[in-house]
Symmetry: C2
Subunit: 207 residues, 2 copies
């Protein structure tokens, strides 16, 4: 009896090639900047002719789109995993969330530009690629809600604060710690403003 193969080798090979293309695109982005990704250069790196890429992606923007979706999925997974270990205590939890986002964003400029900045003039993520981004935002919001941060104005203040630190770090001290070191202080300011309960003294023996 001739059944269907239980592994679709063809589909696997196809997916592997798509990944090769995306990986090469990230390589170029990291070396020469996000806007320097070209079909020619991708093709050269993976040993193809440029037109062959159209067998796997409908256009150059479709490649950006796949990159966008993937990094947001990555962030989603990393955030969900990390948030399980965040402290339960509100201030510690807020600081952990801010620090996690800061470190993730700052560790890869081009990724940050694709995820959070409108750098590519005529690229708009498809609805499908945007879905993980929304999912991510919901996870972050649920963490903040759990701390007691509900009002939109408070969320806006939080995003401006953390985003501002990230941008200054990337723009003025890439690879350094100048604004990273300000994260606890900035989060503390916000926590005071929001009236979060003061952090309990750490590892005090029971009295």
């Amino acid at each position: 009896m001739v059944g269907l193969p239980n592994r679709d080798r063809k589909a696997e090979r196809r997916e592997a090639t798509r990944q090769e293309i995306i990986t090469a695109a990230w390589e170029i982005a990291h070396e020469n900047g996000l806007t320097s990704v070209t079909l020619r250069e991708i093709a050269t790196r993976i040993g193809m002719q440029p037109p062959s890429l159209y067998s796997h992606f409908a256009s150059k923007n479709a490649i950006y789109d796949a990159m966008f979706g993937q990094v947001w999925r990555d962030f989603c997974v990393a955030l969900e995993r990390a948030s399980a270990s965040f402290p339960a205590e509100p201030r510690g939890r807020l600081l952990a969330l801010a620090g996690f986002y800061f470190d993730f964003a700052v560790s890869d400029l081009e990724r940050h530009q694709l995820m959070d900045m409108p750098m590519l003039r005529d690229f708009r993520p498809s609805e499908e690629a945007y879905r993980p981004a929304i999912e991510c935002y919901e996870i972050m919001r649920s963490v903040l809600t759990g701390i007691g941060i509900h009002r939109q104005a408070d969320l806006d203040m939080y995003t401006a604060l953390v985003g501002g630190l990230v941008n200054q770090q990337l723009a003025n001290d890439p690879g350094g710690d100048r604004w990273r070191d300000l994260v606890p202080r900035a989060v503390g300011l916000l926590a005071d403003d929001l009236g979060l309960p003061a952090q309990p003294p750490t590892s005090r023996r029971k009295t």
Copy 2:
């Protein structure tokens, strides 16, 4: 006696043409984005052939350079003029400075991108064009110093805070007020943290 003309009409005409070019470049930047400025399009708008622009600027980046220098000079003048009317009282003065910068930055996205963001891949301002930017920074710093803000970490916190609000406003609510409305609150937080004296009650009759 044949003297030198007291007005150099030729030089004046030349300067006027340079200005025409720069103005056209800003027009394009505002309509289609900073990176969409091309020599072809500039030439078309002022009724020239593209190569003719090289009689006035050595390269496309030289045009960006002139734009960069000019907007920073404009900001310098505006800031110096406005700061004369800032309140003397520290908290009011800090808020006035932050508000002034916020409004200036937010009122023109492309100008902000040229002044404060590294958007143009292979454009680095010349030393001459950068000079007004430094002068500006010194004016801002002197205002902050006058309030009692000296430490680098405090200045860094200020720039991150205000810059963060600006970026969120431009990215997520262009033309709106969502983050503009948070400026007083954010500045208040920072003022508290720095221990600035509390603002006196406004327009209290003398007692």
